[in-house]
Amino acid sequence: MAESPFDIVIGLEVHARLLTESKIFCPCANRFGEEPNSLVCPVCLGMPGVLPVLNHRAVDLAVRAALALDGRIRPVSVFARKNYFYPDLPKGYQISQFDRPFCEGGAVPLPDGSKIELIRIHLEEDAGKLLHPEGDDGHSLVDLNRCGDPLIEIVTAPVITSPEEAYLFLVGLKEILLYAGVSDCNMEEGSLRCDANLSLRPRGETKLGTKTELKNLNSFSAVRAALRWEATRQERTLLDGKKVNHETLLWNAETKEASPMRTKEEAHDYRYFPEPDLPPLVIDPSRIDSIRATLPELPGPKRERFMKEYGVRRYDAEVLTSSAELADYYEKVAARFPDRALAAAFLTGTFLRYLSEDDTAPGLAPVGPGALARLLSLVRDETISLSAAKKVFDVLWKEGGEPAEVVDRLALRQISDEGEVEKLVVSVIDENAPQVEQFLGGKEKVFGFLVGAAMKKSGGRANPSVLGEALRAALEKRRGGRRA
C-alpha cells in the first residue's frame, strides 16, 4: 500500500488468560484440556443464589501484567455486569470492568524504539465454549470448563499504523506477558486471543474513519493477514466512492477472507452496571510495590544489557532475549565461557534448531549450559573444530555424556601437531602429483583441492589453519626448489 492515499489506523483488543490455579470467582481449577464440564461448580454454572468471590491471585497477576506494561494502577476499580444472552454465559452476564478498570495507560515497545500506547487493561471472567459436534444436526454442546477463568483485556489506542506493526506489537506484548509470568499466551488453547479493528483515513487527516472489527483471528499471522486483507478491501471501497460500513467481520484462515457476522449477533446493548455482588476492588500502594519488586528484567532492558555486557549484536540479543528461559540459558553459558560471540552464535544457530526440532524449552534441553560451555571451550582451545563440535553436540543431545569423552570416543580431537601434519602434507603431495603440477604452474585454485584431500585423509580432524600453513609451506618450498 506504499502509494495508497490513505493512512491505516488499527486498534487491538487482546485477551490473556492469567496463570492462576483456580478461576477468578470460584475455587474450580483454571486448566485447559479436561473432560468437558468437569471443572465446574454451582458458582461458575450460574446456579440460583450463588455469589462470586474474587480470587486475589488473579488480581496480583493482573497488576503484575499492568506494571510490566507500564500501566497506571487505579487505587479503586469497579467490577461491572456486561449483559447479554448466550448459552456459553451461564449467568446471562459477564463480570467485567467498564468505566473504572483497574489499569489505565501502558505501552508496548517495538523493536525500532517506538511504542504502542495502551488505553486500558481490565479484569474479567471468561465465558464457556460451544462445541458443534460432527454431523451437525443443529445441536450445540456447551462446555463450561473455562467459564470463569481469569482474563485481562488489553486495549490499545487506535495508533497502530500497519498490519506489520500490529504483528510486532503482538510479538512484543506476548514476550512481556511471558516474561512477567502472567499468562502462557498459548493461542491454540485460547490463552491469548486478539480482536482487531481497522479504519482508513485520507493521508494527513486527523479525524478517524469508519472502522470495522475483525474477529476469529487465531494466530499473529492471521491478525496480520486479516488486517492486510481488510485494509485493501476498505481502500477499494473508498476509491470506488463507497462508504465503509461499521460491522464485525469474521476471518476465515482457510479461504483467507473475512465475511460479515450476522448483524443480529453484534447488535448488543450490554447494559453495563456496577456488579452489586462485589465490593469495589481496592489495590493499595504497598501491594503494588511488592508486586513491582518481584517483576523480572523485561525483554527491552535485557536486550540492551546483553549488547552492552556481552557485546553481542542487536540481532543476536533480540533472539537470545526472545524468551526469558533462553536468555537465562545464555547467561549461564556466558558465565562459564569467555567467548560470548561464539556462545551467542552457537545458541542462536545449532541450539535453537535442536530446541525447535524437539519442540522443547531451553530449561528442558538435554544439554545443559555447563556441558555446552565445556564443549565450546574445546573449540576455543582448538581441541576440536566447530564442525566436530556440532557432531559432539548431536551425541550429547541424543545420548548424553561428557563433551571431552565424546570427543575421544568419536576420535574427533584435532591434529595440530606439526610433525603429524607434515607427514599428511607429504603424502598428499605424493598422491596428487598432477594437481601439484597445476598449482605450481600458477593455478592457485587447486590449493583448496589439496587442503580438502588432506582434510579427508585426516578424517576431518586436521587443524585447518595448521594444515593450510604446512601445505602452503611445502608447496612453496617445491616451487623454490624448481627455480633453484
Partner: protein, 493 residues
C-alpha cells in the same frame, strides 16, 4: 406450656432443660399444619413428617444422654422458597424453577441446621420475591391466618403466615423492599430486615443483589433476636457480607430504652396512611416514651422519591439476576426444537409470570443505552440522598419509629390488577433497603376488624441490638393481644 402460642425462645429453653420433648414440639407444629395448611397454603414444600419426628427424637435422645444441645435444637422452622437447601426444591414461587433442586445449601440455612433447627419446609412467596401479597406465586396464594379473605402480605407471605398460624416456630424470609416486614406486619408477628451485609446472601436466589437481605420472622422480638444471632456474621463466600461477627443481640434485649432518642418523621403520618394504623403506631411510639425514651422530630424528605428510585434500581439488578433462567442448564425449557432465540423466548415467556416480566422490562429499559442516565443513574442518586437523610437523622436520634404499612392486610385480589397500588404498600419499608439499614416491625395493635398493625423501627447500620431492644420495649407494653386465632375467619368484618 401452650405450645400453640408460646414463643420459640421459651420452647427452646424448655427443650434444653428437659421440661418438654422436641417430639411434642414437632407434633404440635405438624398438627397445626394438618389443621390449617390446606386452607392457608403457607408452604410450597413440606419436609417428611417421619423424618422431622426422627430428627426430634434424636434431639430428645441426645438430651437424655446429657450431650450438649446446640442452640436451636429441635426447633421447627420454615424457610422462604428462595433460600436454597440441598435435598429440598427451591421454586421461588415460579414455574421456571418448578422442578429445580439446588445442589447446595444457603449459608443462613446451614447455620440454622448447625444450630440444631429442624426445617419443616419451604414457604410460599411472590414469584422471585416480586410482590406484596404472595398472590404472584405461580402455585396459588397464601391466606392470612388473621382473616382468611386477606392477603398475608409479601413477598415472604408464606413465612409470616406459617409463624402466625403455628405451622412453624419461626421462619426466614427475604426483604428487598419490605418483603419480611410488610407480611410480618400483616400477620401480627415480628420481622427483622438486618443491615445489608449482616446476614450472608449466599444461597438466596437473587432479586436485587444490593437490596436483598435474609432475616427472621418470629412470634416475639426475642425469637427474632435469637434467630438473627444464629444466622448473622461474616461469610467468606459472600463478598458483600460484613467483615464482623454478628449476633449477641439476645443478651442485651432487656437493656431498656431509657435515654434512647426515638426519631419520628411527620412525613410518614400524612396522606395515604390509614387512620387506625396511624393511631396504633402513635401508641407504640408513646410506649417507648413511657419506657424512658425521648421522642425527637426528624425529617426524611428524600423518602418521597424512594418508591420510584427503588423500582428502577432494584428492577435493573433483577433484569440481570433473572437472565440466567434461559432454559439452557436447569429449570424450565421450552421450544428447544427451534432456534436458540426461540428457546429463550418460549422458556422465559412460559416460565415467568406477569409481574416478573414487568420488572424485567422496567429494569432492562432503565439500563438501556440512551436511558441509563435518566433512569438508573438518577435512581442511584436518590439512593444516596435517602442514605444521607438517614445519616443526618441519626445525628440526632438513635432509632427511627414509624408505620410499617399504610393499611392493615388488604383483601385477596384487591390490588392484583393495580400494580401501582400494590407498589405503594411498600412505601414505608423501601427506604431502609435503599440505605441498607436494619429495620424491625413489631405488632403494636389491631384495627377495628382485628387485623394486626405494626410499628416499624429503623436503626443505624449494624446496630440491630439497639433496634431489637427498642422492639422488645414496645412488645412489653402489651399493645397487641398476640396469639393468632385458630379459625381466623371471624376477623373480616
Amino acid at each position: 406450656m401452650d405450645l400453640r402460642n408460646a414463643p420459640a425462645h421459651t420452647i427452646r429453653d424448655a427443650i434444653r432443660d428437659g421440661s418438654i420433648e422436641a417430639r411434642a414440639v414437632v407434633e404440635s407444629v405438624l398438627d397445626a399444619i394438618a389443621r390449617d395448611e390446606s386452607d392457608l397454603h403457607c408452604y410450597l414444600h413440606l419436609a417428611g413428617r417421619d423424618r422431622l419426628l426422627e430428627e426430634a427424637d434424636r434431639v430428645d435422645e441426645a438430651r437424655r444422654r446429657g450431650d450438649p444441645l446446640p442452640l436451636l435444637a429441635g426447633i421447627p422452622c420454615a424457610l422462604k422458597d428462595n433460600i436454597v437447601v440441598k435435598g429440598m426444591p427451591a421454586t421461588c414461587g415460579s414455574k421456571m424453577l418448578e422442578r429445580f433442586h439446588p445442589p447446595y445449601t444457603a449459608t443462613a440455612a446451614r447455620r440454622l441446621l448447625d444450630a440444631g433447627a429442624l426445617i419443616t419446609g419451604k414457604t410460599n412467596m411472590d414469584e422471585f420475591a416480586m410482590g406484596s401479597s404472595t398472590e404472584n406465586s405461580a402455585f396459588g396464594a397464601t391466606r392470612n391466618p388473621w382473616g382468611r379473605d386477606r392477603v398475608p402480605g409479601g413477598s415472604s407471605g408464606g413465612s409470616a403466615a406459617a409463624v402466625a398460624a403455628g405451622e412453624a416456630l419461626f421462619a426466614l424470609g427475604s426483604d428487598t423492599g419490605g418483603s419480611i416486614r410488610q407480611p410480618a406486619a400483616f400477620c401480627g408477628v415480628a420481622g427483622l430486615k438486618p443491615t445489608y451485609g449482616a446476614v450472608s446472601r449466599r444461597g438466596l436466589v437473587a432479586f436485587a443483589s444490593s437490596f436483598d437481605q435474609i432475616g427472621p420472622i418470629g412470634r416475639s422480638v426475642r425469637d427474632v433476636a435469637m434467630v438473627f444471632d444464629a444466622i448473622a456474621g461474616v461469610d467468606p463466600r459472600d463478598s458483600t457480607s460484613a467483615t464482623r461477627e454478628g449476633g449477641g443481640t439476645e443478651e442485651t434485649l432487656d437493656a431498656g430504652v431509657a435515654g434512647l432518642r426515638v426519631g419520628v418523621a411527620e412525613e410518614f403520618f400524612r396522606e395515604g396512611l390509614d387512620a387506625e394504623v396511624a393511631r396504633a403506631v402513635r401508641r407504640g411510639i408513646e410506649a417507648l416514651r413511657v419506657a424512658g425514651a425521648a421522642v425527637v422530630d426528624i425529617s426524611l424528605s428524600s423518602s418521597r422519591f424512594a418508591i420510584p428510585a427503588y423500582y428502577i434500581a432494584a428492577d435493573a439488578e433483577a433484569s440481570a439476576n433473572l437472565a440466567r433462567f434461559d432454559g439452557v442448564r436447569y429449570g424450565l425449557r421450552r421450544g428447544a426444537s427451534g432456534s436458540l432465540g426461540g428457546m429463550y423466548r418460549a422458556t422465559r415467556n412460559d416460565g415467568f409470570g406477569a409481574e416478573v416480566k414487568r420488572r424485567i422490562l422496567i429494569g432492562t429499559f432503565a439500563l438501556s443505552s440512551g436511558y441509563r442516565e435518566a433512569w438508573y443513574e438518577r435512581a442511584m442518586k436518590v439512593r444516596s440522598l435517602v442514605a444521607a437523610d438517614y445519616a443526618a437523622a441519626f445525628e440526632i436520634c438513635d432509632i427511627i419509629a414509624g408505620p410499617a404499612t399504610p393499611t392493615t392486610a388488604f383483601r385477596l385480589g384487591e390490588k392484583q390488577n393495580d400494580p401501582l397500588a400494590m407498589y405503594l404498600s411498600d412505601v414505608y419499608t423501601i427506604s431502609a433497603n435503599l440505605a441498607g439499614l436494619p429495620a424491625l416491625v413489631v405488632p403494636c395493635g389491631s384495627d377495628r376488624s382485628g387485623l394486626p398493625v405494626a410499628i416499624q423501627l429503623t436503626g443505624r447500620a449494624f446496630d440491630e441490638a439497639t433496634l431489637l431492644g427498642a422492639g422488645a420495649a414496645v412488645e412489653r407494653a402489651g399493645l397487641f393481644s398476640g396469639g393468632p386465632r385458630a379459625d381466623g375467619g371471624e376477623h373480616h368484618g
